[in-house]
Symmetry: C2
Subunit: 148 residues, 2 copies
DNA sequence: ACAACTGGTTTTATCTTGAAACCACAAGGA
DNA sequence: TCCTTGTGGTTTCAAGATAAAACCAGTTGT
C-alpha cells in the first residue's frame, strides 16, 4: 500500500484512484471479477495468492465500495463478492492495461487471451479518447489544467 | 513489486502490464511525465517520494523501455527521462485512472485538475470502448476468450 | 456421523519501503 | 582559483508489508 500522507486529499484524481485500488493484486481481482469470478476460493485458486493477502484486499475493496458482499447466488450459506457500479467503472482501466500489454509485450503471433464483443465475437477496438467535438486525441493533444 | 512467479510468462496481458509497470509510484511518475516533467529532481520534488525509491523505479522503467535516458535538452551535463512510444502508450491508462477518480471520488463541484483538449481547451470525453462495428461496449457486452 | 470443503485468521520469517545521511560531480560566483 | 550550491544519485537502518504454512470454525455431501 502506498504511503497515505502523499496521496490523501490529493487534488489529483489519478492519485485518489490509485489510493483506493490499493495494489496490483486488487486489479487482478477486479479483472477476474469481470470474468465472472465471485467466490473467495475461486479468486484464491485462480490468482495463486496467499489467503491472508486476498482476505485483506477483498476487505479494503469492499470498504472502498468496489465490491459488495452478498449472499451466494447458488443458495448456499456462503457469500459472494460482486462488483458495484464503482467497481464496474474500472472496466476501461482493465481494458487499457490489457491493450497496452497486448501491444508491447507479445510478439506478433504469440498466443494470449482476447476480449471480444459478445454479440459478434469479434475483437474490440483500441480504447479511444475523444474531444468534445469528436476528434481523436493523443497525449500531445491534451493538457492538464489546474482546478478552477 | 508483485511476486514474480505468479506473473512471469503469464498468458494474460493485464498481468504482464502490471508486472512491467512495477508499482503505484511508477504510474504517478508516468503521469508527471505526461505533464512535461523530465528531470530526476523535478519528479522527486513533485511526488515527494524518497530518492532511493525514485531511483529504483526510474531504473526499472528505463529497463522496461518505458522511459529513455537522454542528454538534457538545456545543454547541461545532466540527463533527462523521456517517455518512449511504449511509455506514451500508457496515456489511455492514466486517463482511465483519472476519469474513474473524477467520477467516484469527488463531490459534485469539488475542485480538481482537469484534462482538456489543447486545441479547444474543452474537457475531453470519457474513454470509450467500441466494437469493430462501432457499437459502444460496456463490461457486460464483452467476454474474454482463451488464446486460440 | 463423518469426512471434506469453504472461508477465513494467526503466526513467523522474509522482503520491501521510507527517511535520513552521505557522497561525487557539475556549475556558478568572487 | 577556490568556495558554494545544486544535481543525481547510493548507503544504511528501522519499520512496515508480504508470503507460506498451520490452524480453525461453520457448512455441505455421503
Amino acid at each position: 500500500m502506498v504511503k497515505r500522507t502523499s496521496m490523501e486529499g490529493a487534488e489529483c484524481p489519478v492519485a485518489r484512484s490509485l489510493d483506493a485500488i490499493g495494489d496490483w493484486w486488487s486489479l487482478l481481482i477486479v479483472r477476474d471479477a469481470f470474468d465472472g469470478i465471485r467466490r473467495f476460493g475461486e479468486f484464491q485458486r485462480n490468482l495463486g495468492m496467499a489467503k491472508n493477502i486476498l482476505s485483506a484486499r477483498l476487505r479494503t475493496l469492499v470498504a472502498h465500495g468496489i465490491f459488495d458482499l452478498v449472499p451466494a447466488s447458488d443458495g448456499s450459506a456462503y457469500q459472494e463478492y460482486v462488483l458495484t457500479a464503482k467497481g464496474k467503472g474500472l472496466f476501461p482501466l482493465i481494458i487499457g492495461l490489457r491493450q497496452w500489454g497486448e501491444a508491447f509485450f507479445f510478439e506478433a503471433g504469440e498466443a494470449h487471451s482476447r476480449v471480444v464483443d459478445r454479440e459478434q465475437g469479434r475483437p474490440v477496438r483500441p480504447l479511444e479518447l475523444r474531444a468534445e467535438d469528436g476528434r481523436l486525441l493523443g497525449p500531445e493533444d491534451c493538457v492538464r489544467v489546474a482546478a478552477e
